[in-house]
Every structure is written in structure tokens, then in C-alpha cells.
């Protein structure tokens, strides 16, 4: 599934400048991740902790790597970036290497990239496709000013250059992972 959503792209491309007076990180979000098909549904609780949002310089380095070197250069650049936080699911943790927030009049759009995939949704099917190339996970949260929101997660994703805006996110899973009842934990 291709998720070439404009909001994602603006988050990656930084179309809206990051506010200098945000008071976000460090911050933690709690969410219920859900995947549903006609015949089955899975729910899991997720904690997302952002230590700091990725500075402009590092953000540009990662995007430049994507544009000049493609998918593999993007993954290399992400994995070399400083740790920005972590996603915790049960006893497993996944390191966030890229974190970006973009503010608008409805709140914030937060985009996160992990250094490795979180889960290959649908890989349990006997005829599941190859996992090769799905090397990261991409999370997007839309939070209102009160700290409540929703989001999506490409739990195993391939980030590559693509038209029309320069960034395309392909999700391994055929069904999107919805992040429901997202709440910012009160510190």
C-alpha cells in the first residue's frame, strides 16, 4: 500500500517550518494500535516516547540521503542519526531515529521513523510476500492542543523517492494500522 499522503510529505519535507517555541519533547503518547479486516481484528497497546525532535540539520541530511541515494541511503542515514525516542510494545522496544512535529491551527502532526520495522502485518499468511526492503516503521500522529489524537502506523515500511512530492511510503501490510485513542501523557 502506498501512503503518499500530503500531510506526511509536508512533515518529511518540512513544508511548514518547525516552530521554535514548541514545548513538546520530551513527551510520551499512549495509543491502541488496531488492524482490522472483515474476518479478524488485532489490538495492541503502544507507548511512544519522544526524547527530542530531530534538529533541522539532521532532518535535511536524511532527506538528502533519500533524494540522492534512494531507499538504502535513507535507511543508512536514519540508522546513523541520533536516537530521538522509542516505541514500546509489550516487552519490545523500537528505537526512533527521526522525529518531526509540524504545528498547524488544529494542533500538531508528528512523524516518527524507527531504525527497524516494528511488525510485518500479514506476514503470518502462508503466501505472505517477501519482507525485503521494508526496513523501518513510520508513525504519524495528529494531536490536538489538548493532547488527544489519532494516527496511523506503517509498521514495516519502505521509504523511497517518488512523485509528486519527493517522498513515498510503502507499507508492507495490506491493511493500515490505526492508532486510536492517542493521548499525551501528563508529565
Amino acid at each position: 500500500m502506498s501512503l503518499a499522503v500530503a500531510v506526511w510529505l509536508s512533515a518529511f519535507a518540512g513544508a511548514v517550518p518547525q516552530s521554535k517555541n514548541f514545548t513538546g519533547a520530551p513527551e510520551t503518547f499512549h495509543a491502541r494500535a488496531q488492524v482490522a479486516t472483515e474476518a479478524a481484528r488485532g489490538d495492541v497497546y503502544v507507548d511512544i516516547h519522544v526524547d527530542k525532535y530531530t534538529p533541522e540539520k539532521e532532518r535535511e541530511a536524511v532527506l538528502k540521503a533519500l533524494q540522492t541515494g534512494g531507499e538504502s541511503a535513507f535507511v543508512d542515514a536514519v540508522r546513523k542519526a541520533p536516537i530521538a525516542g522509542q516505541i514500546t510494545i509489550g516487552k519490545q522496544t523500537f528505537t526512533i531515529r527521526w522525529a518531526r512535529e509540524v504545528k498547524d491551527d488544529k494542533g500538531r502532526t508528528i512523524t516518527l521513523v524507527t531504525e527497524k520495522p516494528v511488525y510485518f502485518v500479514g506476514a503470518g499468511l502462508p503466501d505472505a510476500k517477501s519482507r525485503a526492503g521494508y526496513d523501518v516503521a513510520v508513525v504519524q500522529l495528529k494531536m490536538d492542543p489538548a493532547g488527544v489524537g489519532e494516527g496511523t502506523m506503517a509498521a514495516a515500511a519502505k521509504v523511497k523517492p517518488g512523485e509528486p512530492t519527493g517522498v513515498q511510503v510503502d507499507d508492507y501490510g495490506s491493511e493500515p494500522v490505526k492508532l486510536l485513542s492517542v493521548t499525551r501523557k501528563i508529565q
Partner: protein
């Protein structure tokens, strides 16, 4: 690695050659609507499926499957199983997996039913980054009890390795190590 509690019921049914229940009132063709679920610390999965049984496996075919299984040759067992006539199907979403073995056994007013699919239904947990290989988990096994009204419950190994061994003679090893509980089993009206 987990050897499932399916072991004893399956052997009971495997040993019940020529049981009278094969001719009881509630028998094939019949279908069941099943709700299964797995819960774990951070979450859970729920699924709906239908088991259609066109006929129960006759004694002769049943005996040859059990004989192949007890020989310890997994390939031979799978060959015999997959050459056996299709006796039904497990339907989930838009998938239909042939059932090659189905048996029932009376238990008072109830029936204990076991079915085996010719291939795995789902490798639960295989989407994890560090998931173990799926090789060798070649079938799916369901076992459930149904009462005279047509309601019941049971368990499922969605991807199973069936092999001889253990105190009962047959062991079922589930890929996931997670017990899929068949919370509600409902016999559909014909």
C-alpha cells in the same frame, strides 16, 4: 515450543475407529461459525471463521492417516493426508483451506469434533521481526466440543506440527506457542 492440549482429544478421536456417532442425528454435512481469540500482555487478536464439514473421514482413510503419522515419517504423513479426499473447508475472510481429515466422537449428549486442514491457516506471531522459521508447521488443527443444541467451544493450532510421541502417542506442536481459544462455536442451521 508448546505441545498443545489438543493432544489427548485428538488421540481419543484418532482411536475412535468406527464410532457410532458417525451416524448420529447431528452429522455432516454441517457447518460451524467460530469466533477465536488469542490474548497476550500487550493486546490480542480475534477472528471469525467457518468450518464446513461435508463428511467425516471414513474409517479406512482415517486409519491410513493415523498409520502414516505414527510411522514417524512426516513427509509420508503429509503425503497421505494431502491425498485424502477433501471432506470440508475452513473459510476465513476470502480464503478457503481444504479440510482433509474430520472426525467426531460422542460425549454424552455432546460431540467432540476434530479437523485438520491440508495446510497451515495462519502463522500467529510470524510478523515479528525476530520470528522463527515457519518450516515444518504444515497443517492447521481445530478441536471443539458441541452440545446437542449446537453450541460449543474449543481450541485451535493455526499452524501445527503433528508428530508421534508423548504419553498419548500423538503430539501437536503449535507454531505460535499461543493457545487460540475458540470462544464460541455455533452449528449453523441447515
Amino acid at each position: 515450543m508448546l505441545t498443545r492440549a489438543l493432544t489427548v482429544p485428538l488421540l481419543c478421536i484418532a482411536a475412535s475407529v468406527g464410532i457410532g456417532a458417525q451416524s448420529s442425528k447431528n452429522t455432516a454435512p454441517e457447518s460451524f461459525r467460530i469466533n477465536g481469540q488469542v490474548t497476550d500482555t500487550p493486546g490480542g487478536v480475534a477472528a471469525t471463521m467457518t468450518v464446513q464439514i461435508d463428511k467425516y473421514t471414513p474409517d479406512a482413510e482415517h486409519e491410513s492417516i493415523v498409520k502414516a503419522l505414527k510411522s514417524g515419517d512426516n513427509k509420508a504423513f503429509l503425503d497421505v493426508l494431502r491425498k485424502a479426499p477433501v471432506v470440508g473447508a475452513l473459510k476465513m475472510n476470502n480464503r478457503s483451506i481444504p479440510i482433509r481429515w474430520a472426525r467426531q466422537q460422542p460425549q454424552g449428549d455432546n460431540r467432540r469434533i476434530a479437523v485438520m486442514t491440508e495446510s497451515p491457516v495462519f502463522f500467529f506471531g510470524a510478523g515479528a521481526v525476530d520470528a522463527k522459521p515457519t518450516a515444518g508447521y504444515d497443517v492447521g488443527v481445530l478441536e471443539f466440543t458441541i452440545d446437542s443444541v449446537g453450541l460449543g467451544k474449543g481450541t485451535m493450532a493455526a499452524a501445527a506440527k503433528v508428530k508421534p510421541g508423548g504419553p498419548t502417542g500423538i503430539e501437536i506442536e503449535d507454531y505460535s506457542g499461543k493457545r487460540i481459544e475458540l470462544m464460541t462455536v455455533t452449528r449453523n442451521k441447515s
